[in-house]
Amino acid sequence: MKLVMAIIKPFKLDEVRDALTGIGVHGLTVTEVKGYGRQKGHTEIYRGAEYAVSFLPKLKIEVAVAAASVDKVVEAIAAAAKTGQIGDGKIFVYAIEQALRIRTGETDVDAL
């Protein structure tokens, strides 16, 4: 099994979720994160104090999938999350050794 972790622009969440359910992925976990990268931030001014804010709001999506589905999943996310503008984000994939559904005790791909 693999875990696909994607950093995306927040307003792309619904499209990514729809793309994933479209290919049969029915579970995922989302985290609000802040990203630092090539995309430049903005400046905020509060009276005399000016702050350059370089961390931008992003969402991290984590999806555990069977190894065989990884490419499909990565492609689906990449297609749905793409705007073509800087800051679209990244997808990382790593291996997971075990998976367990707490409710039922099912393990491995059955747990996803």
Binding site: F11, D14, E44
Partner: protein, 448 residues
């Protein structure tokens, strides 16, 4: 009651400016005494009118700002607070520069004149009429009280196109709208030589001038400007409903100044307006809540708060004219009608009036304006007016409503188009995505 009564109630926030007594009341009472009893200024009235003006400010900043602000997404919070507050400030300046003069000085049936621009000639000795003969108040407090109405009315409109309007466009539109819609309509309804006033239309505290006027303008704006990006697809839920409740509460508290202050003195009629402003509001809040409970399965706090505001709107024209039981009925009707409008009719029509300014102020205002013609009936516990006949009064009320709708509808449309050409009404889709707070104001509402 004599004929004067019709005029009296038709001019709640009245033509006083026109009739200012420049006679110093303390210095030369004899001179004034000859033709009529010397005008008296009662400090109880003065205190009430100052309190009322202050309460209407409370309605606006922070009241209205919070009521609206809580309903938008966090990224647009400051833009809403900023638009409401800036428009209120700018309108105060416009008011003393030329607004007061245009609304309340001489002129014709449609608009006043420029004799009091920059408050020319107004001093601490100037007095303004009330509805009781011989009872006067300092003109400065009349100016201040009316100023707060001119400040909140254009600010109400921005709820119609919140989350997408350009800041500069909102402010410029507000000034133009005040000049070409608010001042004329206020003059027509409240000045003794005004068109609608002359018809005998009843509007105790500004149902037509403030609520129908701004509600229709908001609707026109929502349509001209177009829907928010993501409307009907993304979750555009209110970001902070407790703020909306604080706003609704402060609107209610401040509205007593609005409604009961419109009597211009502190007498028994004023206390009736106070009582009505309690019970009509409570009735509308409960009515909206129960309607929602029955039709959607759950009563929501936003529903209760929306009903409260709908009730305040509806009782505005009838505040000192209806009896308490009539006020309750008016509130119940307004609560149900506005609920149906905001939840069904609006969705059917498919425009994006972000904060339901038309659904609450426009629709509630129409219910109130027409209903005033009914609940004023002495047979229904109202205070009555001379030569009252329900049918005739209701027709007069409808005429006043229609004139207001047409005037504000047409002129607002033209003004939106002008501002669009001059400045552009709308921010870019990217800016809308990012949020107006950062893009237009360079700041964010919340940090941890």
């Amino acid at each position: 009651m004599k004929l004067g009564s019709v005029l009296r109630w038709g001019a709640p926030a009245l033509a006083a400016g026109l009739l200012i007594s420049a006679a110093a009341y303390a210095q030369d009472p004899a001179a004034a005494a000859a033709p009529a009893p010397a005008p008296t200024v009662d400090k109880g009235d003065v205190t009430w009118m100052m309190t009322s003006a202050i309460l209407v400010l409370l309605m606006t900043v922070p009241g209205l700002a919070l009521f609206y602000g809580g309903l938008v997404r966090a990224k647009n919070m400051l833009s809403v607070l900023m638009q409401v507050s800036t428009i209120a400030c700018v309108m105060m300046l416009v008011w003393v520069v030329y607004g007061y003069s245009l609304a309340f000085s001489g002129g014709n049936a449609f608009i006043g004149d420029l004799s009091k621009v920059f408050l020319a000639g107004v001093t601490t000795d100037s007095l303004a009429d009330t509805f009781s003969e011989g009872v006067k108040i300092p003109e400065f407090v009349f100016i201040a009280f009316q100023m707060t109405f001119a400040a909140i009315t254009p600010a109400l409109i921005i709820g119609g196109f919140a989350e997408r309007i350009k800041f500069s466009a909102a402010v410029v539109f507000a000034v133009l709208w005040a000049t070409f819609v608010y001042f004329p309509v206020a003059h027509m309804v409240w000045a003794s030589n005004g068109l609608i006033f002359g018809w005998g239309a009843l509007d105790f505290a500004g149902g037509t001038v403030v609520h129908i006027n701004s509600g229709v303008a908001a609707l026109v704006g929502a349509i001209v400007i177009g829907k928010r990006v993501g409307y009907g697809r993304d979750i555009l839920a209110p970001h902070n409903l407790p703020m909306t409740l604080i706003g609704a509460g402060l609107l209610w508290v401040g509205w007593f100044g609005f409604n009961a202050g419109s009597n211009l003195e502190a007498n028994a009629t004023t206390t009736l307006a106070v009582l009505n402003t309690f019970v009509a509001t409570a009735a509308a809040g409960v009515a909206w809540m129960l309607s929602e409970w029955m039709s959607k399965g759950k009563p929501s706090m936003l529903g209760l708060a929306s009903g409260i505001v709908a009730g305040l709107v509806a009782i505005t024209p009838a505040a000192g004219l209806s009896g308490p039981m009539g006020a309750i009925v008016l509130g119940l009707v307004a609560g149900v009608v506005c609920f149906i409008f905001c939840t069904s009719v609006k969705n059917a029509l498919g425009y994006d009036d972000s904060l339901d300014v038309f659904g609450i102020h426009g629709v509630g205002g129409i219910v109130g304006a027409i209903g005033t013609g009914i609940v004023v009936a002495p047979a229904l516990g109202g205070v009555g007016v001379d030569d009252y006949a329900m049918g005739g009064q209701v027709v007069t009320q409808i005429k006043a409503v229609l004139v207001t709708i047409v005037w504000t509808g047409v002129v607002s449309f033209i003004l939106f188009k002008i501002v669009d050409v001059l400045i552009g009404l709308r921010v870019s889709p990217e800016a809308e995505q990012e949020g107006l707070d950062l893009v237009s104001h360079g700041e964010r509402a919340y940090h941890s």
